[in-house]
Each structure stands twice: as structure tokens, then as C-alpha cells.
């Protein structure tokens, strides 16, 4: 065990830090989950890519810098520490890309990865349907074989930022004779063009962050299939494991939130309140523990171990930690918590209330925490399925 960073890891941190400090836009951008904000975030994404920071762990040929997993965690720590803009490219870079590296053809990687990382082509997820949420395998959207490709029909929903994105990926029933997890295929498909209708849906926090996608006999060529025909479930599980695991929510994000919470506590509250004080300490401890847990996991991964269903523990922990931390912040702010973004008297521009509302989504997205607990119980603890 050596919990010091190596000299080259420290050098990497210095390099990240100096570039970010010199380049992160001063002042917050408007929310990336609005049309205006999305466009401004993309300018930032272009800048990140052109300097080689968009996807640090990727191979150089796709615009990365072949950073180790630990270096990637370091980059994330620095990124959130300086308060850089949220990543509107995340559903591509952090979720689709790992799946592409595992299942994609050379042609797909060549064609898709660089534009994805630069933010020239943006990606949304399209898993849920109106009647297929936690029970994803009951999905109804279909893919019909035609000459040279497939025709997609159906409705997808809760697709983050799809109202502004160019492309999406999801599962479609390609073999009507098979049921449940069998006979599904993983497709990448356009969000504009003939037969596609995308309708934004306002989220709890008021941003148009969600969208519904209606597909009516939309043509996609064979080249847009990821993995094998009818084997989409296996491919999709690789994506969800990235989402639950560390690639979507690395510790840097929560460490930065904990630091901001401590700063808020100092500014807004009589320090003799022992209950709030304890809650702030707990929030700091939770972020620390998540960091060490992640370092432990990443060490296992660097030794070639599979993480598998353990990623469900991760997801429950970070999502519930994030809610608690924001609840503590609102308790510190007191009755001013209701002053929303845009209100002149809002504390920290209303970020805590907005962050709280976003945090409440954590236990729901990426597979509800109820589903995660089933996975932990059945696949880690070995309890009977029924």
C-alpha cells in the first residue's frame, strides 16, 4: 500500500491545475441543461479538447493523453476544485465511449470518438420508455431489418439534454420472436432528420434538461449497431456499469461540494450550532471515504480485476451522500433557501437549491437505488432472486 501520489502523478496534477486555472472561464456559465447554456458549454468543450484535456484517459489517436485511471481521478479533482463548467459531453465521453472501446469496431471508433470528445457531435442516452423504466427489458421500441440497415420505431424518454444533442444510443427489440433480455440490439441513432421528433421536458429544477424522443420508421445503417445484433443487453450493461461506477461521478465532484459546504458554514452560521456542525463534518467525512473507496477500486481495476456488481454500492453511496450534503447546505442557509436562481437575494446565486434538486435525481437515474440494492443483495450477497 502506498497512498502517496507518485512524482509523475503529482506532475500531472500540476499540469492540470495550471492549465485549468489559466483557462476556466471566469464566472459561472448559464446551466448546460438549457439551450443557451448548452451552446456556451460546447465552446468550453472545444477548448478542452483542443488542449488535450477533454478525455485524458483515451488513446492519443482519439485526442486523449493516455492518462492512467489515477491520473484521470486527479484531473477530475482539479477540474471540480477550480469550479470548471459541468460536462455537457459526459453521456458521450464517460458512458458511450467506454462501451465503444469495449465493443466498437475500428471504423466506429475512428468515426465517432474525436467528434464526440470535441463536442462537435453530442450524445444523449435513450434507455427508458414510458412503460419501461426499472424494468428496462420490457421495452417496446423496435428495430425492423431493411436493406442495408434497420428502421427504428418507438418512444424513448427522460433523455438528458436530448433536446440539444445530435445523437443518442439505446436498446431496440430487433427480434420480435425473443423476449426480455434476448433479441435486443444496441443502436446509435440521429436526433434530427426524417421520422425523429424530440420534445424537451422541463425538469424539477425548471431546466429543459429532459426530452422525449419519438421515432417513426427512422432509418439507421448497420454501421450504427454497437456489438452484435440481438446481443444489445450485454453491451448496455457495460454502459450502465460505467454510469453506476466511477466514470460518471468521480470523487473530485463531491470533494468540491464538501469544500463549498464548509465555506458556506463559515459564512452563514453561528458556529456554536452543534447539529449543523456535526452534519458538515459528516459531509466532509463522506466525501473523504468515497475518495478512498474509489482509490481502492481503481487499484483493483489497474490490476486487471473486474469490478462488476460492486459498482452498485458506489452508486447508492454517492447519490445518497449528494442529497445529504445539499440538505445540510439548505439547513445552513435557513429561510433564504427558497430564493431561487435569478433572485437578487439568493445565496450563492441559488446554486444550493438547484444542486439539491439535481441531487434528488441521483437515487433515481442510472438505475434506481432500489434496483441497485436488489443487485447488491442478489449478486454480491447471493440472496435468492425469488
Amino acid at each position: 500500500m502506498d497512498l502517496n501520489f507518485t512524482a509523475s502523478e503529482n506532475a500531472f496534477r500540476d499540469e492540470c491545475r495550471s492549465w485549468l486555472e489559466a483557462n476556466v472561464p471566469p464566472g459561472a456559465l448559464p446551466s448546460g441543461d438549457t439551450e443557451e447554456g448548452f451552446a456556451l458549454h460546447l465552446q468550453w468543450e472545444h477548448k478542452l479538447f483542443d488542449a488535450g484535456w477533454a478525455a485524458v484517459s483515451w488513446p492519443k489517436e482519439y485526442g486523449g493523453r493516455e492518462a492512467t485511471l489515477f491520473e484521470w481521478l486527479i484531473f477530475e479533482e482539479e477540474y471540480y476544485r477550480v469550479g470548471a463548467p459541468s460536462r455537457v459531453t459526459q453521456n458521450g465521453i464517460f458512458l458511450l465511449a467506454p462501451t465503444l472501446f469495449e465493443f466498437g469496431t475500428d471504423e466506429q471508433k475512428e468515426r465517432i470518438l474525436r467528434p464526440m470528445a470535441r463536442g462537435d457531435v453530442t450524445w444523449g442516452q435513450a434507455w427508458s420508455e414510458p412503460n419501461a423504466g426499472s424494468d428496462l427489458a420490457s421495452l417496446k421500441s423496435t428495430a425492423r431489418r431493411v436493406d442495408g440497415g434497420w428502421r427504428l420505431t418507438g418512444q424513448k424518454t427522460w433523455s438528458t439534454r436530448a433536446a440539444f444533442c445530435d445523437m443518442a444510443y439505446g436498446l431496440f427489440r430487433s427480434d420480435p420472436e425473443q423476449t426480455r433480455h434476448r433479441g435486443l440490439t444496441y443502436f446509435m441513432f440521429p436526433l434530427h432528420g426524417e421520422g425523429v421528433t424530440v420534445r424537451g421536458v422541463d425538469r424539477l429544477d425548471g431546466d429543459e434538461g429532459f426530452a422525449e424522443i419519438f421515432l417513426d420508421d427512422v432509418f439507421v445503417p448497420d454501421a450504427e449497431i454497437l456489438g452484435d445484433v440481438n446481443q444489445g443487453w450485454k453491451v448496455a450493461m457495460a454502459t450502465t456499469s460505467s454510469e453506476r461506477g466511477l466514470s460518471l461521478r468521480s470523487p473530485g465532484r463531491f470533494m468540491a461540494t464538501a469544500s463549498r459546504l464548509i465555506d458556506l458554514y463559515h459564512r452563514f452560521r453561528d458556529r456554536s450550532d452543534p447539529v449543523l456542525r456535526d452534519r458538515v463534518i459528516q459531509a466532509w467525512m463522506d466525501a473523504q471515504v468515497y475518495r478512498w473507496f474509489t482509490f481502492q477500486t481503481v487499484t483493483r481495476m489497474s490490476h486487471g480485476e473486474e469490478v462488476g456488481p460492486d459498482s452498485s454500492m458506489n452508486k447508492v453511496f454517492w447519490s445518497e451522500m449528494d442529497v445529504r450534503t445539499h440538505e445540510t447546505a439548505l439547513a445552513i442557509i435557513g429561510d433564504a433557501l427558497e430564493l431561487d436562481e435569478g433572485s437578487p437575494g439568493a445565496v450563492d446565486a441559488g446554486d444550493w437549491m438547484k444542486g439539491f434538486q439535481f441531487a434528488l435525481a441521483g437515487p433515481i437515474y442510472a438505475g434506481t437505488n432500489e434496483i441497485q440494492r436488489n443487485i447488491i443483495a442478489e449478486r454480491v450477497l447471493g440472496l435468492p432472486r425469488k
Binding site: 502506498d2 497512498l3 501520489f5 466532509w284 487499484t299 447508492v316 432500489e370
Partner: protein, 337 residues
């Protein structure tokens, strides 16, 4: 950055696990509860033969000169077994204190035999006169008024106290602090005993992780075996979710404890903050797992026929021992706020 134990550290853990599985089953813990400690003492001697009891002593005294980090996995196993006896007091705290602050005569009389498993050490920090295994230990190490003492137990007075965990054999110790029992005066007693307190907290945290794991194992096994409504209760989501929560608590406590062990072993800056975090997390997890395991067992868990209670009571005691959560939270608060 490499957050993993070495193969040697894992091998030592496996050895301890095997010994305790063979020689320290629940019946041995139960016997200790009833005052019959022969079985537990036999397991102690076997552990001594593997080198675990002496692991913190230097080679000169028959030990392996191992660090706080090396100790964690073996101690976790002693928690898993709810092993009776002053293992934290002797191995994690007593032997290093004796070696650092003992006079030549004291070391000669006690250190080698302690490392060999022949004598056992109880430790009383200033202000903590009620100590585990006081009566069954052979020698007491204590600090009083900034000075260190090494007192043969038959020259101290021990008044029994009763722990909710009977295997802890609590006693209230007192002795006449005099030159006869003084330890070395040319060392910083205050610093050494402060370090001893950190080691006791860390070692307890390691045991708490092991206690959690055992209670969770018991509950999972029970949930698989126990049938109601024609199927195992573990097939019910209500049970699954309780046990999943218990696993999460336990698995997030583990790296906190390991981190603290590394920090102590390397004298890292702010190591005491890491120890406090470890102690809080391990205690929180063990108490949580205890509660969930009890609920999953239902009424049988609420009896002393069921082994679970011995692990729960150890967990309650250790979660508060060597700095309760309020103490450790305050230490962290002073550091970060």
C-alpha cells in the same frame, strides 16, 4: 498511489483466519462469557506460534517489528471471531509501549514473554481506569500524571466491573504510582501514550470491521435458510435492502480504516484525523449492521441462545471505546472547520 495490501499481508490474514476458524468458534466465545477461558487462551497460544501476538515487537524480543498497517487484517479477523482476550491491548498498544518506554529489567521480564504469548498486557490510559481483561492480564501498563508505570497485576488492585459483553472481563484498576514501577523517564511519556491511544482507536476500528463482516455473514446465512410464506425470507425485497444497506456501510468503513493504518504506519501528516474518521466510520457501520442483522433474525436474534448477541455487544462496546463518535467528530471538526 496503490490502495491494496501486499500478498504477505493477505497471507498473514489467511493464517489468522484459519487458526480462529479452527480454534475460536462461537462456542469458545460463549465459554469465555461464562468465565471458562481455556479455549480462548489456547487460540491465543496458537496465534503466538504463528507470530501474530508478537508481531509488533522487535526481532530482538522475538517479534517481527511490524507496523500499524500490518496489524489491520489480523485484527479484523480477531473481530470476525469476536476473539476473547486483550489482543488490542497487548499487541497493538502494550508491546510497543513496553518496548519504547520499558526499562531493561521491565523489558526483560515482560516483553519477550508477551511476544511469545505467555503473558498478557492490560493498558490503562490516564482517566480510563476501567479496562478490559484487567484481572486476567499479567501486567498493567498505565500513565498517571504524565509518568509511565509497568505494574504486575498482582501488585495492582482490580475491582470487577460488568460489561454488557461479558467476554471483555472489565475491571477498575488502581495502584500506588511509585518509583518501583516507573518506566523510563528519558522518553516522552506524553507522546508515547498519545500514540498508544491512537493505536488503540485504530485497532478497535479494525476489529469493528471484522465484527460487521461476521454479523452480516450471519444475517445473510439466516436470510437464505429461514423460510416463511414458502420461500427464504432473503427473497423478500425488504430483507434484501436491509442487507444491501448493511454491506454498503461496512464496505465504505473498510477503506477508511485501511487509510488510517497507512497514515499511522508512515507517520503521515494529520494521521490522527484519519484515525478519527476510521473509528467513527467503523463504529457507525458496526452498530448499523448489528441493528439490521438483529431485525433480519427476528425473535431468535433477540435471545442469548443465538450467537449474534455476542458480536452485537462487542460492537456496541468497541464503537464507544477509545474515543466515542463525539470525541472523534470533534477532533475532525477542529481540523477542518
Amino acid at each position: 498511489m496503490r490502495f491494496a495490501f501486499t500478498d504477505d499481508q493477505k497471507m498473514l490474514r489467511d493464517t489468522v483466519r484459519e487458526v480462529l476458524q479452527r480454534e475460536c468458534g462461537p462456542e469458545i466465545v460463549r465459554a469465555a462469557w461464562e468465565g471458562r477461558t481455556d479455549g480462548a487462551r489456547a487460540a491465543w497460544h496458537t496465534l503466538a506460534q504463528t507470530g501474530v501476538i508478537g508481531m509488533t515487537a522487535s526481532e530482538e524480543f522475538g517479534g517481527m517489528g511490524m507496523s500499524e498497517l500490518d496489524l489491520l487484517l489480523p485484527l479484523e479477523e480477531t473481530g470476525y471471531a469476536a476473539m476473547p482476550g486483550p489482543i488490542v491491548d497487548t499487541v497493538a498498544v502494550g508491546i510497543p509501549l513496553l518496548e519504547a518506554a520499558g526499562t531493561e529489567a521491565q523489558k526483560e521480564r515482560w516483553l519477550g514473554p508477551a511476544a511469545a504469548g505467555e503473558v498478557r498486557i492490560a493498558v490503562s490510559f490516564e482517566g480510563r481506569e476501567i479496562v478490559p481483561h484487567a484481572e486476567s492480564a499479567d501486567v498493567l501498563i498505565a500513565d498517571r500524571g504524565g509518568a509511565a508505570y509497568c505494574v504486575p497485576i498482582d501488585e495492582a488492585s482490580v475491582h470487577p466491573e460488568r460489561s454488557v459483553d461479558r467476554a471483555r472481563e472489565l475491571g477498575r484498576v488502581s495502584f500506588e504510582p511509585g518509583p518501583r514501577h516507573r518506566m523510563r523517564e528519558d522518553v516522552s511519556t506524553v507522546d508515547l501514550f498519545a500514540l498508544g491511544r491512537e493505536r488503540a482507536a485504530l485497532a478497535s476500528a479494525a476489529q469493528l470491521v471484522g465484527l460487521s463482516r461476521r454479523m452480516l455473514d450471519m444475517a445473510v446465512q439466516y436470510a437464505k435458510d429461514r423460510e416463511q410464506f414458502g420461500k427464504p425470507i432473503g427473497a423478500q425485497q425488504a430483507i434484501k435492502h436491509r442487507l444491501a444497506n448493511a454491506l454498503i456501510e461496512q464496505e465504505f468503513a473498510r477503506p477508511a480504516v485501511y487509510r488510517a493504518g497507512w497514515s499511522m504506519a508512515t507517520s503521515a501528516r494529520d494521521a490522527e484525523v484519519d484515525v478519527s474518521l476510521a473509528k467513527i466510520y467503523a463504529g457507525q457501520a458496526a452498530k448499523f449492521v448489528a441493528k439490521e442483522a438483529l431485525q433480519v433474525h427476528g425473535a431468535i436474534g433477540y435471545t442469548i441462545e443465538c450467537d449474534l448477541h455476542m458480536w452485537m455487544k462487542r460492537a456496541w462496546a468497541l464503537a464507544a471505546a477509545h474515543g466515542d463518535p463525539a470525541f472523534h467528530r470533534e477532533r475532525i471538526g477542529r481540523h477542518i472547520l
